[in-house]
């Protein structure tokens, strides 16, 4: 879980807008791990995760002038990241879609974990629809609240809850043998 300081974020955003690129690096360092984790769980391989995360940061930098400070920076950049991840998933041809086995084998992190169970979990995640995967990933790996997940995905909290319920049900069926 991540507990960023909104005040710190706002200050770094302001400094960046004032021409201080180093301030943006502060934001990168603060969010790189959690964003990369989210991207990795969404996309299933480290290269795509790295690309998507980097693109999200670059897009955020490009559009920082449009960032509305009444919102949280991390919600905003999560939204950018999720759009990027969903674009990547939409751009994949069916034949390019990673099989669960490949996704597991391709991840250095997963290899390091070398746990069959963990590999099964990642594989199950990749079997979810992108919408369902997104809510699970943002909730469990991003540590976002329903409202924040809704902000990141551009959907109401009610939809987040509904999707979470369906996604968990599906994961439970895949991983724990829950009845459909």
């Amino acid at each position: 879980m991540y507990f960023p300081s909104e005040q710190d974020d706002a200050a770094l955003v302001q400094q960046t807008l004032g021409g201080d690129q180093a301030a943006f690096e502060g934001l990168v360092q603060r969010y790189q791990k959690v964003l990369y984790t989210v991207a990795f769980r969404m996309l299933g391989n480290p290269d795509d995760a790295k690309d998507a995360t980097q693109t999200a940061f670059v897009r955020a930098y490009e559009r920082l002038g449009t960032f509305d400070e009444q919102y949280k920076f991390f919600s905003w950049i999560y939204r950018i990241l999720m759009n990027e991840c969903l674009n990547v998933l939409r751009g994949r041809h069916p034949e390019d879609e990673l099989s669960p086995a490949l996704a597991i084998a391709g991840g250095q992190y997963e290899a390091a974990m070398s746990s069959e169970r963990r590999a099964q979990i990642q594989a199950a995640l990749l079997q979810l629809t992108p919408d369902h995967r997104a809510v699970i990933v943002l909730r469990h790996f991003g540590g976002l609240s329903y409202d924040e997940v809704g902000d990141a995905l551009g959907v109401p909290s009610k939809t987040v809850k509904s999707r979470l319920h369906s996604a968990r049900q599906r994961l439970g069926e895949l991983l724990l043998g829950w009845r459909a």
Partner: protein
């Protein structure tokens, strides 16, 4: 007993810590009093633990550095766009532009062009073809392109340090105000030429950069014909030749390029082909030959399609490789002969061109008497 959707939602809210105090108490009561609720709650907790067990993933160690490198490129590109937009606005104000063009460059105009022309080329290259192709940067910017191959975003553009410094300079701002430069940059042929590896390689050559710095070269660059010549494969090939680049830097060649007839000749495929030959490049390195190029007679000869064709022939190229022939070409009399329609036509004759390439003929041409004779006969 199965749980109602409302109860299931309550348990999920309890798991996520998303309930108001009253709802949380209700959920806890449900779990205590209802076996199905207890089982469902336990299942949700187990699933949550499974997911949490995956933990976080670590980005590459140099990830933030890569991101900041990409951000730096975006920053530089934004500067380019701002400058272009600002210049375009000013350009629309004719009076302001005239003022800038007439007096704005002042004494520093030549120096400005020396820097600006070179950097402008780099600018165009990086803008349209992604220059330089730094392997280490592929992972940063190329990555972003992977899924957007059909469009170029600012972040896709590579900018090296020197180019960044340039676009942030006043020199760049001044360059953008120059209509000649703008015309040159807008030429598809010119942009195509810049996209070639040969041109990019030539940019690293001190002689070529020196050539770019000359006002005459600048004037030539503004010519559509010259831009067209630059775009030819032959000219690109010639740019890879050190002798040719050195020749380009000579005042005589620059002087030649400033002339309309020479620029028109450059647009000829045959002449461009001739330029691309190693022999021509070598001849260009000969001060006498370069001087001949600048002579009005040579320019007149160049205006002849036959002469241009002859220049492009392998035999003429062979002749050019001969120092004596190149020297002969530089003589005033021979240049005079070249300008004669008859001689140009004769040059286009394969037999005559072949004769020119013979060592004996070349040697003979080196004789002042022969040269004079040739010139007189025309």
């Amino acid at each position: 007993m199965r749980l109602s959707p409302e109860d299931d939602s309550l348990l999920q809210g309890l798991l996520d810590g998303a309930l108001e105090p009253a709802d949380r108490e209700a959920a806890e009561r449900l779990v205590q009093s209802n076996g199905d609720a207890r089982r469902r709650s336990a299942e949700l907790v187990e699933l949550s633990r499974l997911l949490d067990g995956l933990g976080g993933a670590e980005p590459p160690a140099d990830f933030s550095m890569q991101v900041m490198h990409a951000v730096g490129e975006v920053h530089a590109h934004a500067k380019i766009n701002r400058t272009l937009e600002a210049s375009a606005r000013r350009f629309s104000l004719g009076e302001r532009l005239s003022q800038l063009m007439d007096g704005g460059f002042g004494m520093g105009k030549k120096l400005m062009w020396g820097l600006a022309a070179t950097a402008a080329l780099a600018l165009v290259v990086m803008k349209f073809v992604g220059y330089p192709p730094i392997d280490g940067a592929q992972g940063t910017i190329g990555a972003a392109k992977r899924y957007q191959a059909d469009q170029i975003a600012p972040s896709d553009v590579k900018v090296d340090d020197s180019a960044q410094a340039f676009v942030q300079s006043d020199v760049f701002d001044q360059l953008m105000k120059d209509p000649d430069a703008r015309q040159m940059l807008a030429s598809p042929s010119f942009r195509g030429a810049l996209a070639s590896p040969e041109f990019r390689g030539a940019l690293a050559n001190a002689d070529f950069k020196a050539a770019l710095a000359s006002p005459d070269f600048k004037a030539a660059l503004a010519s559509p014909d010259f831009a067209k010549a630059l775009g030819s494969p032959e000219f690109r090939g010639a740019l890879a030749n050190a002798d040719f680049k050195a020749a380009l830097a000579s005042p005589d060649f620059a002087k030649a390029m400033a002339r309309a007839d020479f620029k028109a000749a450059l647009a000829s495929p045959d002449f461009a082909k001739a330029l691309g030959s190693p022999s021509f490049s070598k001849a260009l390195a000969n001060a006498d030959f370069a001087k001949a190029l600048a002579a009005p007679g040579f320019a007149m000869a160049l205006a002849s399609a036959d002469f241009a064709k002859a220049l492009g022939s392998p035999d003429f190229a062979k002749a050019l490789a001969n120092a004596d022939f190149a020297k002969a070409l530089a003589s005033a009399d021979f240049v005079k002969a070249l300008a004669a329609p008859g001689f140009a036509k004769a040059l286009s004759n394969p037999g005559f061109a072949k004769a020119l390439g013979a060592p004996g003929f070349a040697k003979a041409l080196a004789s002042p008497q022969m040269v004079a004779a040739v010139g007189l006969r025309q």
